[in-house]
Amino acid sequence: MAVAKEKLYRLHLMVCAGTGCVSNHAFEIKEALEKEIKRQGLENEVKVVTTGCNGFCERGPLMVVQPGNIFYQTLTVKDVPYLVEEHLLKGRPVKKLMYQPPEEKTPVPVLSEINFFKKQVLVALRNRGLIDPEKIEDYIARDGYKALAKALTQMTSEEIIKEITTSGLRGRGGAGFPTGLKWQLVRNSPSPNGDKYLVCNGDEGDPGAFMDRSILEADPHSVIEGMLIGAKAIGATQGFIYVRNEYPLAVKRILIALDQARQFGLLGHDILGTGFDFDIRVVRGAGAFVCGEETALLASIEGRLGEPRPRPPYPAEKGLWGKPTCINNVETWANVPVIIDRGGKWFASIGTATSKGTKVFSLVGKINNTGLVEVPMGITLREIIYDIGGGIPGGKKFKAVQTGGPSGGCIPAEKIDLPIDYESLTEAGSMMGSGGMVVMDEDTCMVDVARYFLSFTQDESCGKCTPCREGTKAMLDILTRITEGKGTEEDLTLLEELAHTVKEASLCGLGKTAPNPVLTTLRYFRHEYITHIKDKKCPAHVCRQLNVYSIDPQLCLEKGHGCDVCRRNCASEAIIGAKGEAHKIDQTKCIKCGVCYDVCNFGAVRVD
């Protein structure tokens, strides 16, 4: 199988085409670049390559010019002609399009110098920004499928499992089960007709999480190679990638990648002439968060109702169609090839004693540098939030960080030096989860946060077992009442009782972890709950029903001269005052929408 000799270009423009940047016109920028490059006669010298997610989503659309690692951000189509002429033609990188840290005077041109990228260690995301995900040759060029060759020709199944076990890799989907052990269990489980299955869980459902999406969009072959190696290790001949249907770009890229892998004989029969058979089928989800739970996922693949079943028996023993099945998360699979290539010992040298390797986090919320980061286990929250994340925007005070999505918990500011690993997060009352990290500042109401996450889990509860189905609804009702100022002390007691039972008595992980946000916020921010209940006030002013809006007459008159903007915007006609006069809010009519507070340019509206 010969590969057409690629033309050599002197410049590669790596344009980020992850979903985030795509929704921000990345493809249009790519087209504009190509057009402009042609116009300038540079089409034989400059190549435009679309890659997967670059990670610095806050600053998208992004582009990196190689060689030189010059990083451009917040690009628009209008910027393209100038950029092409200045940098590509004349060799003068464009400063105004480079990243400039908030308090600095000069931009940082080189990607590896930018704080956001500096402390990251890319293992699962090793090909980030460097390959076109729709070209298998790019993947192969960067040592792709080298580990597979090694695994198929130089290693036995037991040796592969041993290598993974040595690496200390733990499931990256949230539970953190030792991967090597899981593979060993599946390998040891008997199957009457020999069928064993491999599944990749790509049903990333946590709101705000997009680690798996990025990996599937940017580097689908890393997952495919991982699954191939896993299949050899456990003795499977058929694999499934279960992707949520809300990731169309990921689905598209996986299908292209699978096709190319098949064309290259890396999937199918007699792979690399070793007699090893394996193929992968893509199954799409249909909008249920619960199908991220492994037994519900398996039911969904089988075409049955997507609800979990009690375990034991575990899927390793009885999974798809009753056969031993190994289910791992996307990120877990992506780590496998590099472990086989560079050795389990190397992987284990990164991280902490119990949590080896790196973890991909989606850093979102009240943070300057929103995006996707991969960091070694053991790095502290402080480093992530301040060094990588660039701190809290607007100089606000850091309050807490929620890890693990709706199954996780809040870690308060006092624990900012907590090292990230499975055990320490669980001890603090939270969990690693799949890698969501939501940063909160002083303007976040923790009761509202609990209510928000619970509303998600309640909506996604499959409804099979009593405690989750009824309990989450009851808890949500109580929390909603509290945020509306209608909570009582008894409510708090009942809330805790419910949280306890839902956690203990639920059938699956969804129910068992749904009360976590409530429990951790109660643990660390109980005073906020009390304030909501006793004083009927929201300290962060997020729970609008508890806000009291008023106009400072002095400010209104002196600064705003009675500009009347608030009154004109008030939908419930609750503001009294004529132009030129100090305005006043009629509390009986005020519906606490907060619009007046937002529109007043003079800060004359006060909220208490």
């Binding site: 996604e460 509860s461 099979k464 009593t466 189905r469 609804k473 008595a505 639920s506």
Partner: protein, 585 residues
């Protein structure tokens, strides 16, 4: 064997036993809601949670599905267990306040009123999933499942529409622990409520309401087991183990000495008389239909009702429908007059209707029959002598509107009358049964002109046929009522028994015989023999006379072209000798 401790008591059970069953062995009852012994455990209600200590870990796990492990220490009512059980039941009580098992559990646990809002105080469904699982695992129809998530979850057929897969077996209702699914019998079909749908009648059923014997049969076409290979609930549930789905039809050959034919009758098809409007006009019914209507286990519970559910104000009884009629059957069907009088009496008892009886002759021949007729006269039944010519709904006057008009010539008054009634009962006559002709061929029985089987002698041998050993009983021989049928049956039985009892019996010596070497095998004699006494020997290719059946009529002798058939003691030589003797005198 596995050793465990439950609530402090030690027990040894077989490996693979669930905690629930192991506890039951110690008479410890762990409450369950979504569990049923015939269905795979679901572990959804969470009421059966118990606290288990094993190898240093203490967990709450469900007891319906988890199997015991060596060394487990199980507590079925520890404070931790009770706390979660109480809250679960409390939440269920809020969801389904009318569900009895939940109410019971709530009482036991000391729960008064749930602290959660109640959406529907009549709700019974606790979402245990037993109906869904029964339909899938036991029955194999998979007609219902759960739809919608979380608190909106409910049991439905696909897309909320009636499902073609539902076979009306009512297994769902049977397994539902709270009675949330109900069904009702409607005109022999089951209507299952809770938005499920009609199906055919149950596959295992008693054929008719007064069947003798009262034993159900399995209708293969409707039976789930024959469709999906599953179910067999009837066999599982039958205490006497009396049900066997593997039974096959057997063809049994029995050698008998005598046969009694009792194939009965079929009613005359009233559609053959279009003028009477049967099948076209509503409320024109046959006698058999009226019997069905008036029976206490019938569709109306014995009430005499029109199709619109109202009681009739006037009823007409029409005699001789299809009997005593040149155009249909010339014979009298014997029973119709009496049963029409019976109907008249019943109608008088049950309704306030005016009763009109249209007769030609009143045949009350039996014991007490005439007296009964007299009683009817006294009851006020209006008897009109005349053959009904037409039943119509075309009204000529205002009083006739909405009624059925019986047009008849009242021969006693000498006028043609139009009598408006609400209901007409046609006294349909009797005809031989459907398979009558086939039976006649099989047994070689002749039929008389009225198409019923021919008896050997109308007066002296009414239960015998021309074939020895084949007897007749009941309406296959002629229309007759129940007392006469019973009497005749007794007679036929006696004749058959006496044949069997005899051991040996005398035959007429003058039977025919066929000379083997002369017989050409033309089989002419076989077809002619009225007594079915000649059979064909396929091997020798000759006809053979059965001495026991041969009556010596001589038909075969006369017909035999080769002279092979001869009558014993009546041979040609003997006849010639006799003639010679006579002539010599």
């Amino acid at each position: 064997m596995v050793n465990v401790t439950i609530d402090g008591k030690k027990i040894q059970v077989e490996e693979g036993t669930t905690i629930l069953k192991a506890a039951a062995k110690l008479d410890i009852k762990i409450p369950t809601l979504c569990y049923h012994p015939l269905i795979e455990p679901y572990a959804a209600c969470r009421v059966c949670l118990v606290e288990v200590s094993l190898r240093g870990r203490k967990d709450l796990i469900t007891s319906c599905n988890n199997k015991v492990q060596e060394g487990m220490e199980i507590q079925t009512a520890s404070p931790r267990v009770l706390q979660s059980r109480r809250l679960n039941v409390e939440m269920l009580l809020a969801r389904a306040p009318a569900a009895e098992p939940v109410q019971r559990l709530a009482r036991e646990l000391g729960i008064d009123k749930p602290r959660f809002p109640v959406k529907d105080p009549q709700e019974k469904c606790i979402l245990c999933g037993l109906c869904v699982r029964a339909c899938e695992q036991v029955v194999g129809a998979s007609a219902i499942s759960f739809i919608d998530r979380g608190t909106e979850r409910k049991v439905m057929p696909p897309f909320g529409e009636p499902s073609a897969a539902c076979i009306g077996c009512t297994a769902c209702a049977h397994f539902c622990p709270t009675g949330a699914i109900t069904y009702e019998d409607k005109y022999g079909r089951k209507v299952i409520h809770s938005e499920l749908y009609l199906g055919p009648a149950t596959a295992i059923r008693v054929p008719i309401r007064q069947a003798v014997p009262m034993v159900p049969f399995i209708d293969e076409k409707a039976c789930i087991h024959f469709k999906t290979g599953q179910c067999q609930l009837c066999a599982k549930v039958c205490e006497r183990q009396a049900i066997n789905h593997e039974m096959q039809d057997e063809t049994v050959e029995v050698e008998v000495g005598s046969i009694i034919l009792a194939s009965g009758f079929k009613p005359f098809d009233a559609r053959r008389i279009p003028a009477y409007g049967y099948g076209r006009l509503p409320n024109v019914i046959t006698a058999l239909e009226f019997e069905h209507l008036v029976n206490a286990s019938g569709p109306t519970g014995g009430k005499i009702l029109l199709t619109n559910g109202e009681e009739p104000k006037a009823v007409g009884l029409v005699h001789c429908v299809g009997s005593r009629d040149e155009n249909y059957n010339e014979y009298c069907s014997r029973v119709c007059c009496m049963y029409s009088l019976k109907f008249a009496h019943l109608i008088k008892e049950k309704t306030e209707a005016d009763i009109y009886d249209f007769y030609i002759d009143m045949r009350c021949f039996g014991k007490g029959y005439e007296e009964f007729y007299h009683r009817l006269l006294e009851e006020g039944t209006k008897f009109i002598r005349g053959r009904v010519s037409e039943i119509t709904d075309l009204a000529l006057t205002k009083e006739e509107e909405g009624k059925l008009i019986i047009r008849v010539e009242d021969t006693l008054l000498g006028v043609v009358r139009r009598i408006p009634v609400d209901m007409v009962v046609l006294a349909t006559g009797l005809e031989p049964s459907i398979d009558h002709n086939q039976l006649a061929k099989t047994f070689n029985i002749s039929c008389s002109q009225d198409t019923f089987f021919l008896e050997r002698h109308p007066k002296l041998a009414p239960v015998s046929t021309f074939s020895d050993g084949i007897f007749l009983a009941g309406c296959c021989q002629a229309p007759r009522d129940i007392p006469d049928t019973v009497a005749q049956a007794g007679g036929a039985a006696a004749e058959a028994l006496s044949l069997a009892d005899k051991g040996s019996f005398a035959l007429e010596p003058v039977t025919a015989e066929i000379k083997e070497d002369l017989c050409a095998g033309c089989k002419i004699c076989i077809g002619l023999c009225p007594f079915n006494a000649i059979t064909f020997d396929n091997e020798k290719e000759i006809s053979v006379v059965n001495d026991a059946l041969c009556k010596g009529c001589g038909t075969c002798v006369a017909a035999c072209p080769s002279g092979a058939a001869q009558q014993k003691h009546f041979r040609d030589q003997q006849i010639m000798a006799e003639i010679e003797g006579l002539l010599l005198i």
